[in-house]
């Protein structure tokens, strides 16, 4: 069979599914969950207002992009071209570390999929139902590609930057109504632009925002140019000089087609309850649970061992002495310190207590991470939280949470999601309470919205 007509390779089978499915094929609870994810995203993106890294990319967009256009930049209430709107909304989505995460792929789909889809949809006059369908395509593709790339990829590469580019491309190509061939071309151009290294963690540098910004924007670009006829590699994922060949040593092609049309990976996505790196959440949950159960306070803790998977050590290990609030979100000690001292590690606790609080700092220095074989084997399918606390009076206490708060089996209710969205909107005065309540109402009826433009009024 010639390569030109061989449609049996995994990337192509994924594209065939993505081109084919309609909203009628998606179970109603998955559509509802996608609306939950959308609300969680838009509130996160609004909360990125005034973050320095986002500000600098806004300056770049002002210098390099058009001063007007069809697409909305949430943090400054201006309009520009879809490319730059995706760039800025992508950057702002991830900076407060409150956006969603899919466990098995260790991908943050919202931060890359929704900024690209909304920017493209606003330019094309698409409806809420079309946005939901396209976004589900982006989640289904991105999650499977993340699982395909494997754990070896995540050790060096920020999957949300690399795989996120393809997730955004798949979503926008679906929004454009492209066929399997077109989606395949879009993935080809996206995969050959896929980038993002973890090295920035060591310097607390701004790259994480650049990764989501560029994944969203370059994914949108890939779909746009594919629609114009610009071609890319067909086997960009599994080919001998494709993404897996270059950036993975444990790629699993079967993951690309896993349960297509039966397994809705979108609904497996977790919400963040704590405002920190997801790798800190299982242990934070376990510690919180233990302290409530045993009725101990932070003063009574002599040491905490967080039993973790290898990925947590890879990402959090370099952060021993956090200098910024953003870096503190990657410090296991800080997160457990906030939970122990202030009972929560939300946006407010990070702002007020992550860096200057002596009690939190004291507890931070009592925390160590230890690789745990059982937890490591279960990861990334299951993110088990386990801590061992030694008390000042000599007791050894064990805490464990099998399904951390925010996971599908322990998800946030709509009232909890609304409360979180209101907090995110208020965080940097990104949106007034009335504006956030209007957004919430619109999202709960997203499938009925004829337009997805103008979530916030244009700045005067």
């Amino acid at each position: 069979m010639s390569q030109a007509t061989d449609h049996t390779y995994p990337t192509r089978q994924l594209c065939e599914f993505l081109a084919r499915f309609t909203l009628a094929d998606v179970p109603a609870d998955v559509v509802e969950r996608t609306k939950d994810l959308f609300l969680d995203w838009i509130a996160s993106a609004i909360a990125g207002k005034d973050a320095p890294a986002v500000r600098k990319l806004q300056e770049f967009a002002a210098a390099m992009g058009p001063q007007q256009g069809p697409a909305e930049v949430l943090v400054d209430r201006r309009r520009t071209s879809p490319y730059f709107a995706a760039l800025i909304n992508g950057a702002s989505s991830h900076v407060v570390e409150q956006d969603d995460v899919h466990n098995g792929s260790v991908l943050h789909p919202a931060a890359v999929v929704f900024p690209a889809v909304i920017a493209a949809a606003q330019a094309e006059g698409k409806s809420g139902a079309e946005v939901l369908l396209a976004s589900i395509a982006g989640y289904e593709a991105g999650i499977r590609i993340g699982e395909f790339m494997g754990r070896s990829h995540y050790r060096v590469f920020h999957t949300t930057g690399t795989v996120g580019t393809l997730a955004a491309a798949a979503a926008v190509a679906k929004l454009y109504g492209m066929d399997a061939e077109g989606i395949n071309q879009a993935l080809g151009s996206a995969g050959t632009q896929a980038a993002g290294l973890w090295e920035f963690l060591r310097d607390a540098a701004d790259s994480k925002q650049l990764h989501t910004a560029k994944a969203a924007a370059d994914g949108l670009m890939s779909a746009w140019i594919a629609r114009a006829g610009f071609t890319g590699a067909k086997r960009i994922l599994e080919g001998p000089q494709g993404m897996a060949a270059g950036m993975s040593s444990d790629a699993n092609p079967a993951a690309l087609t896993d349960g297509l049309g039966k397994r809705w990976a979108t609904a497996e996505t977790s919400f963040k309850f704590f405002a920190s790196c997801r790798h800190t959440h299982p242990a934070a949950d376990a510690l919180k649970d233990l302290m409530l159960r045993e009725k101990i306070s932070a003063d009574q803790i002599a040491s905490v061992t967080a039993h973790v998977h290898q990925g947590a050590i890879d990402v959090l290990g370099p952060v021993t002495d956090p200098k910024t609030i953003h870096q503190a979100k990657f410090s296991m000690g800080t997160v457990l310190g906030l939970v122990a001292v202030h009972a929560h590690a939300g946006l407010g606790e990070f702002e007020d207590h992550a860096l200057q609080d002596a009690k939190v700092a004291a507890l931070r220095d009592k925390v160590e991470m230890e690789l745990d074989d059982e937890i490591n084997a279960a990861y990334p399918r299951q993110w088990i939280g386990r801590v061992t606390v030694r008390t000042t009076d000599g007791r050894t206490l064990a805490g464990r949470v099998d399904v951390p708060k925010g996971d599908p089996g322990n998800t946030l209710s709509r009232p909890e999601l609304e409360a979180k969205a209101l907090q995110l909107g208020a965080f940097r005065h990104g949106a007034s309470e009335a504006e956030m309540r209007a957004i919430i109402a619109r999202v709960w009826a997203l499938e009925k919205q004829a337009s997805v433009n103008d979530w916030l009024p244009v700045a005067k």
Copy 2:
């Protein structure tokens, strides 16, 4: 020593050199050679006019970028922001495969460095001398980073896409007058965006143009945002989660600082004499030489074995049945066929004879590549050309060229460079002869030009 004050790592040492050197430190012949490289580049970029892949990126830029600005797009004589000018000029620089190449790094520096530097310089009102200095910084950085990433990188990654992003970033950061810290930050943001996979070769897809386009544009972006204060990883190259950790198995940190201030790698760059992938050139030279010496014609050739290095097999091996002129530039058989039948494989020969000429096709099928230990060991420092020809009357003839035409030891003279530039300008009517002659005169006095704007008049 804390990481924050440790400036002894190789990336930093490279940055210290890049920040420090002035045009007075550069030997006069290196400056003159840089002008040769600049002329060869601008003519290549003009020759990319009307190439379909470039056209589609022009459409993207028209949709997403501003309709006016300070930076010149050579192929359409319009002006836009530096980001989009770098994108389009980067795309058009490489499409006719006539731009320069550095052997040791297997990097095409011109296609990524000059588009970024010129776009940034036009926006900032920089002079020709400043452009030369910045471009030399881009070449010196890019070549060393390419050598650092090693041969393992090039097997899967298109070094001009990946490393090219850092070369462009270093050049623009130097143009901006940034210090070592700033250049380091720019490289951090560039390295975490570095991408480009060879997989597209198998499908004759358009990605090669996307790679140079994005390397130039994203490199410029990296320097721009670094100047605005956006931070990146310091040890982006050699760090435990940096580029080498993710994308190389034979990285050599010593290459990053090799001969800084003494070895001027810029002047090691080769010009292309044939309009094809550089990996075909040594064998093409050897065949041409053999046929002249032995006075044989294409009809007398029964078979040709091209003795090559592994990189040639990796890049050219997938191309067995070229379907487009661009793909034919990666077919060893086609290139040797053109040389045998038409005595040259220039732009005109590719246009007229690469795909439809029965004699060329017949010879193409008589060519095979064979890995040669001596040639492979010398590569990439030296690109030796060796062919074995079996004639129809039963003779076995050997051809060999140690320094292929265009290499520093066998370079193009200024009259040859001018003739090549005039051909490139005429190729798609990208510039009139009078316009090309004006460009040539301006380039030969580049160090005296107060402005680098308006190489071609604005379209009416």
